[in-house]
Amino acid sequence: MNCRRALKALPEILDDGGSDALRAAVEEHLHGCPACRREREALSRSWELLDAVRAPAAGPQFTAAVMTRVRASDTRGALPRRATAGPGIRSWWLAPAGAMALVALLVVSALVTWTHRPPGRPPTPAVVAALPSEPGRMPTDEDIIRDLDVYEQLDVLDNLWLLADLEVLEDSEVEL
């Protein structure tokens, strides 16, 4: 193995050890090559320096704040849900007009679902999505999936040359 191939293989070996054959060939080369040994050291030390980046601890009110927002979104009726005896029910009594509107929404939802769904199946997301919702509602599954599609397409462009790089790496492994 020459220096070029050894240097190409080092990141992979440091990441997951690489195959036995690749590791043995690189180790043999490193034994007699101070320059590549320095390079391995450089890759290792730069990776270890990342340990210094520590995140702060989550605040004591983190979970409570999330749960408050979740309950608020349920009460707003962003997505119709089956009626359960949860905390949301109690808050309906505090807002009778909102409760009436939500009950009406649920009745319509139930009717639409009842008349359209095949027997034994839950309401489809399409039926749920067709119902009116407030501005500032929770993101739906469709929102998230659509967003991911957009970003993935950007990533494909970004990664084309990376894939080509990996092929070079794998070729060098085959030629050992």
Binding site: S46, L49, A52, A55, V66, A78, R82, P87, L148, Y151
Partner: protein, 198 residues
Amino acid sequence: MARLVIDDSELMLRVRSGDHAAFGVLVDRHKQRVLNVVYRYLGPGADAEDIAQEVFIRVYGARRSYVASAKFTTWLYTICRNTCLKEQARRKTRRALEGIPMGGTDHSAEVAADAQTLSPLEAVLLDEHAIVAKRAIDSLPEAQRMALILRKYEGSTYEEIAEAMHCSVRAVKSLLYRARVTLRRELAEYLELGEPSE
């Protein structure tokens, strides 16, 4: 008496059927994990915790799309990345509107802007090593950065990263390969490593 620990998938299925308490357990269990990823991905700033909370709001909003065959943390990372991408886009727009210059790979303006919003706690956490390392992470393209964070800090397998990032295991290996090489180059001067041999 041994305590019964309910696994993430079971809890998420309960959330799907309207169990709020189950969601609270999930948030408690994974809040630090999500905050770690958000903080390392987006960098210091007073709003990392808000964005981490936003991740969970989105998890809740997408609860009906969860299927038990998916590992919960992998699904969580997908939503976490999506939320980070949105926040990054929002920050870029805001800075453009405020007239803060921001060049292609030069992140000094972003780092400087972030540094102005450091809380005292963050200032303590960010020693010199951390600032240099964070700047190097920030210099990576988005996909490399997320793959690195999941691998280095979260200990995710190639397969888990591939699933979370919707790409192949081959692509993940390539992303991590490039990330290591770039970090080595970015940190060469600081660590007095000399120029890469190639």
